[in-house]
Symmetry: C2
Subunit: 329 residues, 2 copies
């Protein structure tokens, strides 16, 4: 049965967006064809007024990390029943408020995990083998002039510390093991279904690793967890890759360690105050910088759009949601 | 027994170098401590005259791809017994002339294979996920201004064609398989000990692949093997990584295909006329350029130096060489 045949009136298929998630921006036509998209970001009204003007009708919000769904937003939409997130993490949504009001949240499951893990490995190889810095050396015309370029470091045999052995961390571990690395990890609890070595905290992990790959969620416990002490425990030839959230690292202390030569190199996809990157980093050759893009591939954006559309379609036709997020105390 | 105790007179431990191999340049002290190094490159004499001045005594030459050991060089050194190469390949040595004169050749076995394979994977991820181009975007200050950056391509599920499934190619295959790629290959002969799909030539491989990773030796058969026809068979979203030798690709035809958008992107460590890189490539964002450095890590240079020193020590103490290269018809 084609859902188009029994389409509800368009005013009952309203989807409100505060700021367009990247997946929506790329595949907007798919959404516009099937749903009435209410764009707060295109309205001249202040957000609060825009939300109140749809207070009685809007049952669905589509969102991502680019704009949090706060308790205030939720209270402005008393008819809200569903928050559809185009991200895997839901730390940009006030889950307690959703729980209180019986609002369901869906995410896109682990559709981006392989991409983020691939990019983490790419960043690690890049820092170790100086790929981006070498490309700059060649493009700057220096090869015929100076000839020499500093040696890189070998990947095989290095002790990799994975911070957070979840969907992404475990994929990074598998990939680096195939390159001859020795993998250990830290996480809230020791995992019994993995062959990798457990350390009870990030400092112990750093003391026993040549590199840290940060793959954990940002929580009150993990904020600024990678600080001056942890960085120095990793040591002067240590490498840090962060594909999780910028605030897991104390960025000021990281910059100081980079400038002082207290760490070998870093590959960063995320920063504390995106899109702003500390200016000292821009001059350093042992730093590789991405604009928060490790999840951004054509294929995964297509897959994520399909999950979002399927969740929306399921909601409006009273069928089971594909990827609801557990939301219990 | 410490070899120092029975050291031969220094004039019998002469090692002649035409141009310093990179491994020697980094670890020169190790060599100078044990052997009398005769540096043609430091002499005001023309090479021929320098060689003739040591014609009666020099039994060993240390070399690498930076300066070929031609039949002329060999004929200038009638006492020559051993050519020690700091590379794995020996295409820079006139092997036929060595055979005729009973000169043994040693290489460094596969000490660099893991490093080259790691860098090949790094180049592939970089091109697919736009790491170097994104770093340039961030360093150029564009992130806060334009915000958007083009999507990359997913690694998992891609059909990888390995050109030459030897020590390096098989390591690249293992690594990319761990990332979810489907690997096939071409080589002179089908290999029976591998699970990967065989194609009889590079054109068939290109027709059935999303990317080519070139890992084969440069021979008369492989020179310009990757030409316009092969590149177009790979297609407009195809990717080529070359960590072998520049001349395996017809560089003029590759540049044309890049400029015309007939190929998705390339990652190149090697070029036809090193250190010169075609200027059109320097402006392209879908190209990653390394200065022939995929083998260059501190760890492997150290290991390679140990192999070179051990071969030299073995020769001067009449012990079996570690890594002689088979040199038969």
């Amino acid at each position: 049965m084609d859902p188009e045949d029994h389409q509800s009136p368009s005013d009952l298929r309203q989807v409100l967006i505060l700021r367009p998630p990247p997946v929506f921006a790329v595949h907007e036509q798919y959404f516009s064809n099937k749903f009435q998209i209410l764009k707060a970001y295109d309205s001249p009204l202040p957000t609060h007024d825009f939300l109140r003007s749809y207070a009685q009708s809007v049952r669905v919000v589509l969102c991502s990390g680019v704009r949090p769904i706060t308790a205030e937003v939720i209270r402005d939409l008393p008819a809200l029943k569903l928050v559809v997130s185009s991200a895997t993490g839901v730390n940009h949504i006030d889950m307690a408020e959703c729980r209180l009001r019986g609002i369901t949240v869906t995410n896109v499951a682990d559709v981006f995990s392989d991409d983020v893990a691939d990019a983490a490995v790419g960043l690690y190889i890049d820092v170790m083998r100086k790929i981006t810095a070498s490309d700059r050396f060649v493009r700057g015309g220096q090869w015929p002039v100076t000839g020499e370029y500093p040696l890189g470091s070998k990947i095989g045999g290095k002790r990799i510390g994975i911070v957070g052995l979840g969907n992404i961390g475990s994929r990074v571990a598998t990939r680096l093991k195939a390159m001859g690395c020795v993998v250990s990890y830290t996480s809230r609890h020791k995992k019994h279904s993995t062959p990798f070595i457990f350390h009870p905290n990030v400092l112990q992990l750093a003391l026993n690793s040549d590199a840290l790959i940060i793959c954990c969620a940002l929580t009150n416990d993990t904020r600024h967890m990678v600080n001056n002490t942890v960085i120095k425990a990793l040591g002067k030839t240590g490498v840090i890759v962060n594909v999780a959230r910028g605030a897991i690292i104390n960025e000021v202390e990281l910059v100081n360690c980079l400038v002082e030569g207290e760490i070998g190199g870093v590959g960063l996809d995320v920063f504390e105050n995106e899109p702003n990157v500390p200016t000292q980093m821009l001059e350093l050759d042992n730093v590789v910088l991405l604009p928060h893009r490790t999840a951004f591939t054509r294929e995964s954006f297509h897959d994520a759009a399909q999950i979002l559309l399927s969740n929306l379609e399921a909601f409006f036709t009273n069928k089971p949601l594909l990827t609801p997020v557990a939301n219990q105390f």
